[in-house]
Each structure stands twice: as structure tokens, then as C-alpha cells.
């Protein structure tokens, strides 16, 4: 007896979005990153089309961070001394995208400046041929002040600019419009809020093909199930034809996983927690691999070993489709 696998016929499709521009398109990238385009749920190849595999980004900073785990500091080592070297190392580790986060202050505690971020972005663009995403430090005024010069410096490169939030998106979207970039729209774990921000951003006239949505997530044990469920509902709505939910999704499991006690703290924790380094890596990898299955199109990671593990999992899931 043959078993017929039931197939769902979805009416909607996730939008295809391309980050980065090669010389042909007016940029200097040696490769671009295209995500989205799915017509079915993650890894259901038998049912629909999944033209692009989930992409893995590595987060780097414009300077050596003060508050990262010693495990990460040791891994990246010397490369953290210069954004260009760090980007290069990330490329070597297998990243599909460099996710550069700007700091509030310089290493000397001075305010970060437009001149400084221009220089950093230029160095990173020169150091690697990967497509680039740049996010501000996360304070509305300062984000706006720093992202505008970034957008100008990277004109034509089709970089992803972040982070647009409901209360602060107009300046960043205007900078993306003026310099032909894309934007990351981030909302706090809610289907309606995700939709609303996509609407607000597209109302400013930027094409939907230039918006990546970040529905926000939590680390394993810290709300991942809530984030997972919101992503799942967004993707189901997208496949059902709800246009404003059809943006590809980006999430940041790296930042989430590396701020929880299990990965941050090596001493004074129960012995049964096991080896610190391994635990921290597992935490990031398990968080990320769960999110891959909820429909994430881009995952931002911090540790190169995690990237390897998640990539292996994606390879394995894709292999069954072949």
C-alpha cells in the first residue's frame, strides 16, 4: 500500500529580497545574498518551492566590545582589534552576511561620530566581498545620526540598514531610499505589530522588496517559544496571502543566547550544567536551529563554531529533500 503524503496548496509566497550589489548592479560586492521566495513552510520541499536556504550572518562590532563573553573574545582574538579583520575572519568562518553593529561610544569612552562610522564601514566594505548589514547602537537619536552617514558612505552597495522600530523609522527609511539600500524592521514579538511596521515603512514609498522583518526572538529557555510561535503565525499568514507579512524574516539568536546566564557564567553554577564552553555553544546553536525551523531566513550568530553546527543541520535537512 502506498502512502500519499497530503499536500497543502498555499496561495501566498514570501517576497524575495536581495542584499548587496555586485559591480554589475553598481556596487562592489563579490557576492550577494538572496532570501525568501518560499511557497511552503520550512523544509517541506515535497510541498512547495524553497528557492534559497536560510542564511547565516556573523555579528561584528565597530570596535572591540567591552561586555562580550570571554569565550567569544578568545575565539575571535586579534581579529576583534579591527572591524576589517573581524569581517575577514567572519567571511572565512563561512558567513553569508556581515552584520555590523555600531557602538554608542569609542574605545576611549568618547561619543561615536559620523566620521568614525564612515571610516569603519569603508574598511569593512574594502576587507570583504560579502554583503553587509549595519545597525545603530539602539538609541533613536544616535541611531539616526550614525545611520545616515553609513547609508551615504555605502551608497549603491544595497546594504541592510537597521534598526527601524515603530517610534523611530522615518530617518532610516529616508536614508535607505536616498542611497538605494534596504531596511530591517524590528517589532516586539507580535504579529500585528510586525505587519504595522511593514505598512508604515512601505507607506514612505520604499518597495517591499527592500524590507526584511525582524520579529524579535528570545533565547532557549527565555521566551523562544513565544518568538517561535509569532514567526510561525507570520509565515502562515504570508502563505495564506496576507501581503504585509510576506517579508523574509531575520532574527538574532546570537545576541539573545550570549546574554543568558547559562552561556555567560562559567563559575558558581551547578556542576551538572557541564562544560561552560560547550554549554554556551550549544545554547546559541539550539536557539538558532529552532528558529531555522520556524521560518527564519537570516540568523545572526556570534560564534564561528555555532555557525558551523547550524550550517551542518541545514545541510542535513536539505539533503533529505534531494
Amino acid at each position: 500500500m502506498t502512502v500519499e503524503i497530503p499536500k497543502e496548496k498555499w496561495s501566498g509566497q514570501v517576497r524575495e529580497v536581495t542584499i548587496g550589489a555586485t559591480a554589475e548592479d553598481g556596487g562592489t560586492r563579490t557576492q550577494t545574498l538572496t532570501i525568501g521566495g518560499e511557497t511552503t513552510l520550512p523544509f517541506l520541499h515535497f510541498e512547495g518551492n524553497i528557492p534559497h536556504r536560510p542564511a547565516l550572518a556573523i555579528e561584528i562590532r565597530d570596535r572591540k566590545p567591552d561586555d562580550w563573553s570571554p569565550i567569544l573574545m578568545e575565539t575571535w582574538g586579534e581579529a576583534m582589534e579591527s572591524p576589517a579583520a573581524w569581517a575577514k575572519a567572519a567571511e572565512e568562518a563561512g558567513a553569508d552576511l556581515i552584520y555590523l553593529v555600531l557602538s554608542l561610544t569609542t574605545a576611549d569612552g568618547e561619543e561615536n561620530t559620523p566620521e568614525n562610522v564612515r571610516r569603519v564601514v569603508r574598511e569593512v566594505l574594502d576587507a570583504t566581498g560579502l554583503p553587509l548589514a549595519v545597525a545603530g547602537p539602539g538609541q533613536a537619536d544616535i541611531d539616526n545620526e550614525l545611520i545616515v552617514p553609513v547609508a551615504e558612505e555605502a551608497e549603491g552597495e544595497r546594504i541592510l540598514l537597521g534598526i527601524c522600530e515603530e517610534g523611530n523609522y522615518r530617518t532610516i527609511v529616508a536614508a535607505a531610499l536616498a542611497n538605494n539600500h534596504l531596511v530591517q524592521s524590528k517589532t516586539p514579538m507580535d504579529v500585528n505589530l510586525s505587519k504595522q511596521l511593514v505598512i508604515l515603512i512601505s507607506d514612505m514609498g520604499i518597495p517591499l522588496e527592500r524590507i526584511v522583518m525582524d520579529p524579535t526572538t528570545g533565547a532557549l529557555g527565555y521566551g523562544i517559544e513565544y518568538g517561535y510561535s509569532v514567526m510561525e503565525r507570520l509565515r502562515l499568514a504570508a502563505l495564506q496571502g496576507d501581503s504585509m507579512t510576506q517579508q523574509p524574516m531575520l532574527v538574532n539568536p546570537g545576541a539573545e543566547a550570549w546574554k543568558v546566564k547559562e552561556s555567560k557564567v562559567g563559575e558558581g553554577v551547578p556542576e551538572s550544567w557541564g562544560d561552560w564552553q560547550n554549554r554556551a555553544l550549544e545554547w546559541e546553536a539550539l536557539t538558532a536551529s529552532s528558529l531555522v525551523q520556524s521560518g527564519a531566513d537570516i540568523l545572526i550568530l556570534r560564534h564561528p563554531e555555532t555557525l558551523k553546527r547550524v550550517k551542518a543541520m541545514i545541510d542535513a535537512l536539505l539533503a533529505t529533500a534531494a
Binding site: 517610534g167 500585528n192 505587519k195 504595522q196 505598512i199 508604515l200 514609498g205 504585509m244
Partner: protein
């Protein structure tokens, strides 16, 4: 315990109070009033007073800035007397909204052919008794009851008060007394004797609607069934909390419950005095009172502890109160008058809605009807003659002008409608009374929000676009804001503004109401577009513009001819229940038939609420007419660029 002397200015009244007395309590003991819109929770900041001399202990100083504190301002409901003090109480907000209910009441017509003998529980009769003789030695009461039984009234209860009087009255009337009976089912017992006398009675009744904000009464001639006069007055409890939750909290403090019960009685007394001036009918000639109100108002009126109304699982002491005597309730009507509180449905859908549904005709109509009554709380009923579903959503008082920086009630000086120019963003507005504006009332706020949205001054999330080329938008003390009137054109000599915080409050209020509709409709698989008529009750509906209300997503986007504004449906339904036993039974049936949905226990409500927290709604497909106007406006702007 040590006591301290507190002098209150400008009245120059002094009181001695113990250490730890709140300034508000000190004021009350001095016979002065300090308004506490939030019920003394220290949230609204409207009870600020100035400590001129002495020191008070401030438990909280929320909403007071450093300058205020420096110059001695303190929150009266949060500051404790700990030594002698001199305190200035600023002039309290005067309550002076036009009481619209007085206008609408006059237009009320007898809603059906009224034949008192068939439908009225208050019956008057003249009896003819055989005088006693040595051979017929039956006592007076048995003789009276015998005569009543012959007319079909048996058994008849009689109070001691009347028993004390029957002997003389029977003889004075030469054994032909006039009686006034309360016979809920006419013609058959049990009945109750209310009054007996030598001359005929002309009975009157009162339909009383106790609103959170306004108390309305109709004085009704129970023979003709006509409304002789109506009167309305602000509910005296307002100063102890503007919404039901604040009042429940206040009722839980000290003897707050007793105080609130007294305040509403004082209001009823004022209303009755007005009615007496207009008709000459004194309160003690009123023999029947029918009362509607939301569940909290009924609890406070009956002095029932309301605390459980606001705590899960939200169980009131009573939904169907029994009848009481006016004397039991310490009310100034005839002491034996029956006081009939109409039945409610649940903690947040009260008798005002049961009565309102009767008045609206929803429960007898085949058409799929949405009935909404928006006050401080929004109550919604969806259904027809076969089924009815109801819920309450806490809209808050934003549409009544509270919780908005320059919000005010719909009185003299309130901006009631605004138009914004789509290129220059300059507003024009209309003010009640035609004078200089002092603030913006509910209809003005709805109209302003709609205009700011349509012209693109705010985005669909309600954020003010500070990058527009106009001085009307700016960063103010409370965040981004839009200036509706400059200081030199306002009566207050200050700019009248709508801030981002105000917009958020209005958005939350409208989203709560819209989410209420959509959850009700979704829960039974009805599409809001299929609603055949929308009936809007309450004073709220009278002044709002349908187009503006649809633009902001407060009302569903349906053809305008499906909307009907009914005025005070609660008072009308109460009037109907006062006149007719049969309709009174229908109100009870309506209350029993309605299915109540508790939204706080419903998972879909939050989703529906966040979806509605957008202009007009996250799913613009539900608002085709708005999509069209607004789409055109956006296209025009893009072309200009």
C-alpha cells in the same frame, strides 16, 4: 495621637486632624471638595494643592515636576498631614456640560398604547366596605382585606405604618377609602398596600438612570403614562473617581462605600427637587421607581460592596436585585414606594444595557444588529431576535475628554470639530458657544485624530511626523505634539495641543471598542460587513461624525445609512419598564437571554486589540472607504514629491 491645625485657603476654614490624615480627608472634614478623578489612587495629578506653610509627607508626587515641588505643590490624595499647615486649594474644575439628556428627554413619546389597568403594577381603587355593627364585628384589617379580595387582590401585605392609620381613614372616608396598591401581576396576588386615604390618589413614578457620569430621571404620570418632566445632574460620585474602577477602589477605602452611596443620593435629591419645581409633584407622591445603571452604579446605589466586580472571576453581588422599599434604601420617595432595580447581565454589562436593548428594539428585530453604548465603558451587543451576544470593553474616559492634556467635556469653549488643510497642515475649528477655545471635547478629538491621519500629520501608528514643514508639529514637554490653537487665540492663553500620548490614549480607546465588535463577530463566525444596522446609544453618539469615526477605525466601515443614533436608550428602556409589567418581564428575559463574553478571559481579544491599534486598522481591507480616501491622499503627496 497628636492632632494638627490645618487651615485651608481661600475659604480660610480650619480643622484639627490627627497625624497621618490625608489632605483630601482634611478637606472633607472641613466641608470642602477636592476633585479626585482617579479615585484617590495618585495617578491623575488633578488633586494638586499648594502647601503654603508647614510640611506634609508626600507618599507620591507623580505628575508634579521639580518646579511644582519647589513651590510647594502636593497631591492631596497622597500627602499626609504631619504638623500644622496652611494649604491652598485651587479652584476646582466646574462641571458645566450641557446636560444633553434634558433636551432629548422632552422628545420622548409614549412608546405604546398605555392602558394602566392592564399593564401597570401601581393600581388605584376606591373600595366600598360594609360598616361594622354589633352583629358584624370583623376587625378593620380583615374587613379591608375582604374588600380587596373581592377585587382579586389576595393576599395583600400591609405594613405597620399603614395599619396604624387604617382605623381613622376608614371612618373618615365613610368606609369608602381610596387605596393604592402595588400588584406586580395585576388582578391577582400577592399585592402590597402602599397607601390608603379618604381622597383619590394620582400616582406618579420615576424612571431613574444612574450613569457613571450623569444621573437622569423622568417623572412619569402613571395614569396617562406620559413623561411630565425630566431632569439630569452630574453624578456626585465623579469627584471620587471618573470611571467605575476608580470608584470601586474608592469604595474599598475606609467608609468610601457609604460615602459614595450618600453622594448618589444627594444627586438624586437634586434631580427630584428639579422635577418638583417643574411639576409640583413632591417626592413622597412618587410610588414607584424603576432604576437602571451599570452593575457598579447599582452596587453603590444599594451600598453593596463592589470589590469583586473588578477581581477575577468578576462576580457581582447581584445581577437581578429584588424589589426594595424606598424607606429601606433611605430614599426621599414615598416610604412604601417600590424601588425596582432592573436586572444586569454581568459585572461589566449592566441593567442600562438590558434596558437599552429593549428600547433599541434589537431583541425583537430580525436584522443582524450591532448595538453599542459608549460611555466611560463601551458595551456592545450583537444579535437579533433569536440570539444576543454581549461584551464590555474598557475604553476609558478619553472620548469624554479625560486622559488628554487639553481634553475637556463638551461644554462652552470646547473645540467640537476640526478640519486640517492637507498642504499647509493649518487647522480650522468650531467651538461650542462660538467663543475662544479652552480645550477639545470628545467629538473634537475624534475629528482631529481623523484629520491628522488623513492629511498625514500622523502616521498610521499615530506617531507625529516631526519632519513636516510646519510649526504646528513640534517636540513639546510631553513629547511630539500638534498645535490646534495658538496661545493668543485660546481662552487659556496657552497653546491647545494634541500630544503623542493623547493620540495613544485615543487609539487605545478606539481599539478597545473595535476589538470588542470584532471578537464578538468572530466568535460566532459573522462578518462585520454583514451587520444590517448599527444602533448607537448613549450621549456619546449624538455629536460624533460617522465619517470621522470610521476614518479612525472606531466604528466599522459600513454604509452610513446603517447607523442610527438613539440617544439615551438606558433611560428610555427604564421608562418602558416603569410603565409596563410585560415590558419589565421582557427586560428580565433580555438579561437572561444575552450571552456574556468576558474579554479579559478571551485569548483573541488581545490580538484583535493590537490589530485595531492602528489607523484605521492593521487590515485596511476591512476599511475600504478609508483605504480609498487615504490612498488618494498618499498618491497626491507622492506625485508632488
Amino acid at each position: 495621637m497628636a492632632t494638627h491645625k490645618v487651615k485651608l485657603l481661600p475659604e480660610e476654614k480650619s480643622v484639627e486632624v490627627p497625624t497621618g490624615t490625608l489632605i483630601t480627608e482634611a478637606a472633607i472634614s472641613a466641608g470642602l471638595e477636592i476633585t479626585q478623578p482617579c479615585g484617590g489612587q495618585g495617578r491623575c495629578g488633578r488633586c494638586a494643592v499648594k502647601v503654603e506653610e508647614g510640611v506634609v509627607r508626600k507618599r507620591s508626587t507623580i505628575r508634579l515636576n521639580a518646579d511644582d515641588l519647589e513651590s510647594g505643590w502636593a497631591l492631596a490624595c497622597q500627602s499626609l498631614i504631619e504638623g500644622d499647615a496652611v494649604i491652598s486649594i485651587p479652584e476646582q474644575e466646574r462641571i458645566e456640560r450641557r446636560l444633553v439628556t434634558e433636551q432629548t428627554a422632552r422628545a420622548i413619546e409614549l412608546p405604546f398604547d398605555y392602558i394602566p389597568a392592564e399593564t401597570q403594577s401601581i393600581q388605584t381603587r376606591q373600595l366600598s366596605l360594609n360598616p361594622p355593627t354589633l352583629d358584624d364585628s370583623q376587625d378593620d384589617l380583615a374587613r379591608l382585606q375582604g374588600a380587596l379580595q373581592e377585587l382579586g387582590y389576595h393576599p395583600v401585605e400591609i405594613s405597620l405604618l399603614l395599619l396604624q392609620r387604617i382605623g381613622p381613614v376608614l371612618r373618615e372616608s365613610d368606609w369608602k377609602p381610596h387605596v393604592l396598591l402595588d400588584a406586580p401581576t395585576p388582578g391577582s396576588g400577592p399585592a402590597r398596600l402602599i397607601e390608603i386615604g379618604a381622597s383619590p390618589f394620582h400616582p406618579h413614578g420615576v424612571a431613574l438612570d444612574i450613569g457613571t457620569t450623569t444621573v437622569t430621571a423622568y417623572l412619569v404620570d402613571l395614569i396617562s403614562g406620559k413623561v411630565k418632566a425630566s431632569a439630569a445632574e452630574y453624578n456626585g460620585q465623579i469627584a471620587r473617581g471618573e470611571d467605575v474602577i476608580s470608584r470601586i477602589i474608592y469604595a474599598g477605602k475606609g467608609n468610601g462605600l457609604s460615602e459614595l452611596g450618600t453622594l448618589v443620593r444627594e444627586t438624586i435629591q437634586i434631580v427630584l427637587e428639579k422635577l418638583q419645581r417643574r411639576t409640583g409633584v413632591p417626592p413622597d407622591e412618587i410610588f414607584k421607581v424603576t432604576v437602571a445603571g451599570n452593575t457598579t452604579m447599582i452596587h453603590l446605589f444599594l451600598r453593596l460592596p463592589p470589590e469583586t466586580i473588578r477581581l477575577t472571576p468578576y462576580i457581582p453581588a447581584v445581577n437581578h436585585p429584588p424589589r426594595f422599599l424606598a424607606s429601606d434604601l433611605d430614599l426621599p420617595f414615598h416610604p412604601l414606594a417600590s424601588v425596582d432595580c432592573l436586572p444586569g447581565i454581568a459585572s461589566y454589562v449592566g441593567a442600562d444595557i438590558s434596558a437599552g436593548v429593549l428600547a433599541s428594539g434589537l431583541s425583537e428585530n430580525d436584522a443582524l444588529t450591532l448595538f453599542i453604548d459608549v460611555g466611560t465603558n463601551g458595551e456592545i451587543v450583537l444579535g437579533n431576535r433569536d440570539w444576543m451576544l454581549t461584551c464590555a470593553c474598557s475604553a476609558g474616559p478619553a472620548f469624554e475628554g479625560a486622559g488628554v492634556v487639553d481634553g475637556m467635556r463638551a461644554t462652552q469653549g470646547a473645540i467640537e470639530e476640526v478640519w486640517v488643510h492637507s498642504d499647509t497642515f493649518e487647522p480650522t475649528y468650531r467651538v461650542i458657544g462660538g467663543e475662544k477655545p479652552r480645550g477639545i471635547c470628545g467629538s473634537g478629538l475624534i475629528s482631529l485624530l481623523s484629520e491628522l491621519f488623513v492629511t498625514g500629520v500622523i502616521d498610521r501608528a499615530g506617531s507625529v511626523k516631526l519632519d513636516l514643514d510646519t510649526s504646528r508639529v513640534r517636540q513639546g514637554d510631553h513629547g511630539p505634539e500638534y498645535v490646534v490653537a495658538w496661545a493668543d487665540e485660546s481662552d487659556t492663553k496657552r497653546d491647545i495641543v494634541l500630544t503623542k500620548v493623547d493620540v495613544d490614549n485615543l487609539m487605545r480607546a478606539k481599539a478597545a471598542i473595535y476589538a470588542g465588535f470584532s471578537v464578538l463577530a468572530d466568535s460566532i463566525g459573522v462578518d462585520l460587513a454583514d451587520v444590517q444596522q448599527v444602533l448607537v446609544g448613549g450621549a456619546f453618539g449624538k455629536y460624533i461624525n460617522i465619517e470621522n469615526a470610521i476614518n479612525i477605525g472606531l466604528l466599522p466601515d459600513l454604509p452610513w445609512d446603517r447607523f442610527h443614533f438613539l440617544g439615551n436608550t438606558a433611560a428610555l428602556g427604564t421608562y418602558m419598564g416603569l410603565l409596563s409589567n410585560e415590558l419589565r418581564m421582557q427586560i428580565r428575559d433580555i438579561a437572561n437571554r444575552m450571552t456574556y463574553m468576558e474579554l479579559s478571559a478571551d485569548n483573541s481579544f488581545y490580538d484583535a486589540f493590537t490589530a485595531a491599534l492602528f489607523l484605521p486598522h492593521t487590515n485596511i481591507a476591512h476599511f475600504p472607504s478609508v483605504a480609498k480616501i487615504w490612498g488618494d491622499e498618499v498618491d497626491n503627496k507622492k506625485e508632488e514629491k
